[in-house]
Symmetry: D2
Subunit: 304 residues, 4 copies
């Protein structure tokens, strides 16, 4: 079928390619003219036959909101917008309402798979009306991985359910990565385990911890066995934060996902104000040594 695709970054670019390989007619638009099939959003819309389906794949927040608003002006009654970025699920309800007033349909779609999606397909979680889901199914079927549809695609519920599911997916992802990471560090610290990469590689088959993330860790260790080409500095995107916030909103204990999030925050700190406070307290009550700030670190005084 025909699809307009707004946003041809790392994700959108590959998705256009995967859809075209499946025989779909994709008109892409990006501000970068080198990759764009249309000169403007209006041009993109003009190039599509009605009723149109337009997939938005731009950064969450203001860029997505602005695109939804512009499409609201450009599209017609009976058209359909699919928002596939990493938006917060609470944004979807606003987008859907805004477009519904113009008779334009709306689906939110969480998309997982990263740079591997072009070849492997993308895991898809969709929220919205069943009729809209059915209408876009050829697109979803082309994007999702080979195999049974229900193992790579879910209609999770009403508008917002797709991004809520993706948010939780990413929260889980934070926890999984941190679990492997802690295990890696402990193996690394052990005196008795002398071949850490081989141990992790050997977990790929038969073990309880085998997973795609484990395969990727093996891949990383293959090229950098100590992982010392990079620094332990880890960004976080919105989903991990939102997951903890929603856990709080629903009074759901989330100790593992929050610990994983906080470990990322801490990884980006040159120095921790909190730990300065702890050091100051220990010094106050016990005369314990502190490490002075400045070029020479570490300082005298005996412990107790």
């Amino acid at each position: 079928m025909q699809l307009g695709l707004v946003g041809l970054g790392k994700m959108g670019f590959n998705m256009r390619e995967r859809l075209r390989r499946a025989g779909h007619d994709v008109v892409g638009y990006d501000r970068n003219p080198d990759v764009s099939d249309a000169s403007s959003l209006a041009d993109l819309v003009a190039k599509l036959d009605g009723p149109r389906t337009v997939w938005i794949m731009v950064p969450a927040g203001a860029p997505t909101r602005q695109t939804v608003e512009e499409l609201g002006e450009l599209l017609s009654e009976g058209d359909l917008v699919i928002e596939g970025g990493n938006s917060r699920f609470t944004d979807d309800q606003e987008h859907a309402k805004f477009l519904a007033a113009k008779g334009i349909g709306y689906l939110d779609c969480g998309v997982s798979g990263g740079v591997w999606g072009l070849e492997n397909g993308y895991g898809l979680m969709v929220g919205g009306d069943k009729s809209n889901v059915d209408r876009a199914m050829p697109i979803f079927d082309a994007l999702r991985p080979e195999g049974p549809r229900e193992e790579g695609f879910a209609h999770a519920g009403a508008v917002g359910a797709g991004h809520f599911s993706k948010m939780v997916h990413n929260g889980i992802e934070y926890g999984l990565m941190q679990a492997y990471a802690e295990g890696f560090e402990l193996l690394d610290a052990s005196e008795v385990v002398t071949d850490v990469p081989s141990v992790i590689k050997a977990w790929q088959r038969g073990t309880v911890v085998r997973s795609w993330l484990l395969d990727l860790l093996v891949r990383a260790l293959d090229s950098d066995p100590e992982l010392d080409d990079l620094r332990g500095y880890v960004e976080d995107s919105g989903e991990g934060r939102w997951t903890v916030e929603e856990a709080i909103n629903h009074a759901v204990p989330a100790p593992v996902i929050s610990a994983a999030l906080f470990a990322r925050f801490a990884s980006r700190q040159e120095d921790s104000p909190a730990m300065r406070a702890v050091a100051a307290l220990r010094n106050q009550f016990g005369g314990h040594a502190v490490h002075k700030a400045g070029p020479t670190s570490g300082s005298g005084s005996t412990g107790s």
Copy 2:
């Protein structure tokens, strides 16, 4: 090759079967005569040709130690013991030393795979001398999954390295399971996601969180979509505890693995003494309502 196998419980029984399917000559011994091939440990040893290889697959702690000691009396110089249970790695060094004094070799082997190992093969992590590892390789090759050896088998280091690796494997497993579990609970608490099992099923292909554990969660949800046939009561075996203890010994932060462990402890408490203390404190300073122990719970007084 020929192997003596001590312990034919859930794991050992299946391992004997898998080894026999691969053409090995296994003589098994278990206290349960219905499954045993020998009438006693002495009988087992007598049934083996020298130099013998005997695999121990009995519960960790006293049963394993006792079996090592008895084998120390029964075996001869040049024989080899492989300890495949869930022992603490610190026990291995004692076992190896005890047997070395008698000229008996020792390998420790962490075995992962649970009840699925019979068909899928077992992930293996081994510690000990290379010559002993080479000698037992036909056994390892039969037990490990199909595919490249290094994806299901590792020689992790000296004696103890196999069980240390398995310990960390299980610590990671605790973290992974808790991450999925927190995500499940949050999806379950959501008003917008109305088909939780479908969402989790859809994570099986293409997503970042796909894994064998996820496949098992899908399997569990297939037969019990709300998981309400069972209670949230979770045992722990030694490995999770040891992982946190070793993390502490090595000054490795392990917030995720420890959170997963503590969640299991809490799951087994009818009532939490700690939370009684928090409730008592809130009542003291703020006159906040407390829930009285006893048949009728909940009590009056307004919050502030």
Copy 3:
């Protein structure tokens, strides 16, 4: 000086009494006519001489917002509103802006001290313009504890700073309480410590952990040495949640405060969906026993 005080619940009632003891002229209003000095909010305003100062001490959220709005209609240019409830600091900026449009001043004041404040005084953290703070200082001085002003009162910053400070205060409080609670539970679980209440009582003088909360724990143990008259069921009010949310907003690691919050969530669950998921997973891969839901709990199958 003269003060209007809206809300005569557990906190407001005692504050009126403390202010009157200090010689201030307080006109209180509450929907409960038994404690109210005025028949309506309009009556309260009518009873005050201009320029008026009105302190709001009603539940956070809608009740506070509604009171601010009504006062906006009733008060006059040059009057001053002090919002002393447990509001989220982000509400203050809206309240201040709304009132500023009418020429009415606004201060937000975090108030700590609970039911003990009548006798001990209340710790106060205030946000807003210095001129307004100075104007209300006689009230603050009467409410705060004896001793140097700066040890029980702070002008924390602009509007919102008072409630932000109180929010953090309460977040810390969660962490402190949980730390004592974990220690209590561990002492309680110990076989070697046979007189737990005496140990905790002995921490009141000379130790590093002495505090007012510890004194309250001793007080609770005096009347209930095992704390078994109550259940480990703990509510949370907004501040703990907001503290974690603000920590996330500022990328501040807050493992302790969030752990304390999650422990409260868990304390209120009859059964944990997350731990049901973990139990289901263990059963899937290892055939581990699960506890069935229903009247008889616990079920067979051996562990591995």
Copy 4:
């Protein structure tokens, strides 16, 4: 009464002084002749009249064990040893047994108070037989703070109970410090709170979080309002680790105390191997930017 005191470091030196001020006859021994009253341990013992009481105040572990063993040779039946260092409670049972075989009594005593103990007195938690406790009570009474005995002294149980109590005390201390520290960091990160030291100072009276540790934090902020004269590098001594280990041994959830411990571990890492693993994983699946190790940090590649 007369007391031998072995170890005149930061703690022992002050304790000798406090005991002498109370009129006790203290003979101190330290390897440092500048502070010692005796030339050797044997000389110390020779200077005491029987039945002797000797207090050990040397570092935990080997130094304490060695001192106990030497005293076992030097002392006589009917003498009493009080072990006041930060030993693990499991050591006490061995010490007591060793000395009991020679008819020498044993008490373990947890001592809290740090460098402030000289003036404020020390919080004391004692394990052992009541008759020995009674015998040493004049010493305990001189060391403990003014006020009711039970508010600064406890006979916690049999041998080991004193050090177990002190261990838990220190575990709680870790949690308390981290709670204040997280709150400090969040205040520090806030845009709206512009006078953080004043806010914390104002918590000293009337609030729920007032404590001696808070007073010390105020004291630290008085001399260094941003705490930027020191680095967020925090050591840990054994007690925090042991507390978590004992929590694990007793299946007691200890999320706050363990989080506080792990924050210390992390504070001492130049770079985190675990977070390198997380960074590597993100890079693998999403092409997310990593920070390269080496002189120039941060590197290109777009996020997704």
